[in-house]
Symmetry: C2
Subunit: 400 residues, 2 copies
């Protein structure tokens, strides 16, 4: 029996998905599981996107150009990016297999094996997975739950930068924290990137989910950083089309785009039917985006207030995306999450949360933090929080 | 301006796609280009696959399981693999983003950076790209156009194996050669893999395109090699659904599948709309597959006979897929292909071929070989071959 590679053995398992077998087991026992763990919204995709798929007239689902269908690229340029003040041409956008491929490509283009990438901690756990796959090291700069995980003093970046640092990777608004970075913070990060000539890889897939009155400030808007910014984007979140697997990589840097095209050609093309959905989604009325945003604001307010009413729980108020990272009064959120799925039952139900330790790189950090998504309707959220509260009271590893 | 990684700079560009700008330029001048260069068939997708997409009732295109939709996995197990004598369960199949992701995963699971993979030369050019991306070295064993690129003496494998060899990667039927390996050849390769405990990565995406009366002999059927075989498969070619981007990785080796799931989770899920097409395609009538096969046999016979009638051209008779690698009477097929696109015109048309040198690893090999696909209808093939013949007569770099 041949042995698999050491790399494949050591590849980190998804922290978000590894509790799924326990939740499946609970469901098999007839237990209702409230999913606060998932980033999968329950909101319908826009009708124009669904219609584009249903009414497609393809007789042959053949390859598209490796860079994506021209209609989608021009549509994104003209109907989407121009509207939000990002001015790009066809050579500056390549359609990817969702944001996931876009991040992975950006890391490979920016870094050789052995290089370092700076992230703000807690960070999206698959950043670590992609870094691992490419032999890169994430250098995490801690942020503080008490200040809403905001960008720390820029001196912290200076301390973290070494000769091996090639990029800063940010997520704005952030998964898992829901933190939205201000224009000032973005400009400060831009200064660091400029000073050390680093790539700034900016994952902005939650751009439509900002809950302030300020417009979202994209890394593409940082003056003088045009050649260093690589934008990671997706239609998955914007249009509730997570399964379409369509995103893009955008940069004014032609060397970056030429390299991205080589990688894109190696996997032939992005999914064509998903691209058709994305073309349809370009005509999504503003009212859809607005309604989704308002719904999330309601849910967020409900959940964050509910969390902070539970004794020993603390959550900042996230201003973007649809997550928060909260502090729970437990010894260890992974043990707690397992215990909830395996042992705790209230009215034949339980609540599932994502342990947040894997969103941290610094050992021991985030051990009593959990990521909670507000992707359920309020009546469901209400029950989920009630079960969570009772679970926390009963949990043997409780600590206040 | 930040510099991209050395790796991204050195990443090989697609040899198949790099002449596309020249062909686009010719078309802009109003020139008709006959594409013998592409592996994109002109045959319609099965109606049941198209219908499944048109009639889907999703209101929300959400993520599927990272391993793919259960309905597609069980459908493939029961409606497809069981019929061709491959007996697998749910833990032994993961849906991938087409065969491309499947090959890339298999290489990463089998090999660490620095390891070696044995391939038969000429090989699918993206094998080299994926090897490069993962820091692996392809060790190519030459095969001979005069014997139809068949598997050489097994001693050649023994000579190529070093302590760093971790896998043998084959494509059967083969892209670019169209060569079909006999059961005896497969068993012989299996013996080598067993003796040295190597993974045998078997890319069988052209399985339905075999033009002998013998059934295709899958690597999954090699006795005693169950723990070493990793099967790369796809619905792209079988059902003319190249743009759906749905394939799978199959293995009886549980360590392989556990690792594959970790990689699958990192990219969240395969394209859901493509999976819906693939579920529909499972009901493709045998008559469709049979009709496609008969059409290809006609085209193959027409093209191969036509090629061999041209002075100085030699092509073996491929017994699978829809390609051949032919020897042309030219100094260099890349120069010839460029000259055809840039300079040669007959009745306002030209023919495009793929230079085959990039399908070889051994320096200087394949320099006068071209890959030709018979994916056009016979009247088009006739014109394409006539233009090719006249081009060869007029080419300044002609050699006989």
């Amino acid at each position: 029996m041949a042995n698999i590679s050491l790399k494949a053995q050591q590849m980190p398992a998804s922290a978000i998905r590894k509790l799924v077998p326990l939740s499946d087991a609970a469901k098999k026992q007839g237990i209702k599981v409230y999913h606060l763990n998932m980033g999968q919204p329950d909101i319908k995709s826009p009708e124009c996107a669904l219609k584009a798929v249903r009414e497609n007239t393809l007789t042959h689902v053949s390859y598209s150009n490796s860079a994506g269908l021209a209609e989608l690229r021009t549509g994104l340029i003209e109907k989407y990016y121009r509207k939000i003040g990002i001015d790009i041409d066809m050579s500056e956008i390549i359609i990817t297999i969702a944001g996931s491929e876009s991040v992975n490509l950006a890391l490979q283009i920016a870094c050789n094996a052995g290089d370092e990438v700076i992230v703000l901690e807690p960070f999206y756990t698959n950043y670590n997975t992609f870094a691992f796959m490419n032999g890169l090291t994430l250098k995490a700069i801690p942020t503080d739950i008490r200040t809403g995980f905001q960008v720390p003093d820029i001196e912290e970046f200076e301390k973290a930068i070494t000769p091996k640092t090639k990029a800063i990777l940010i997520c704005n608004p952030g998964n898992p924290t829901g933190t939205l970075y201000s224009k000032e913070s973005m400009l400060a990060i831009g200064e660091v990137a400029k000073k050390h000539d680093l790539f700034l890889i900016s994952d902005e897939v939650y751009r439509e989910f900002c809950y302030t009155d300020e417009p979202h400030f994209s890394a593409m808007h940082i003056p003088g950083l045009e050649q260093n910014v690589i934008l990671v984007d997706s239609v998955s979140k914007r249009y509730n089309l997570c399964g379409a697997r369509v995103g893009c990589i955008v940069s004014h840097n032609q060397e970056v785009m030429k390299a991205a095209l080589k990688y894109a050609q190696a996997r032939l093309c992005p999914p064509v039917l998903g691209q058709i959905a994305a073309i349809g989604a370009l005509d999504t009325p503003d009212s859809y985006i607005q309604a989704v945003r308002e719904e999330y604001i309601k849910r967020r307010n409900y959940m964050i207030e509910g969390l902070n009413r539970i004794e020993g729980v603390y959550s900042p108020m996230p201003m973007g995306a649809f997550y928060t990272v909260a502090e729970l009064p437990v010894d260890n959120t992974e043990d707690f999450a397992r215990w909830m799925l395996e042992t705790f039952r209230l009215d034949n139900s339980t609540t599932m949360v994502t342990p947040a330790a894997s969103f941290y790189k610094t050992p021991g950090k985030g051990i009593n933090h959990a990521r909670l998504a507000y992707v359920l309707e309020i009546p469901e959220l209400e029950k989920a929080l009630h079960v969570l509260e009772e679970g926390l009271k009963a949990y043997p590893g409780r600590r206040v």
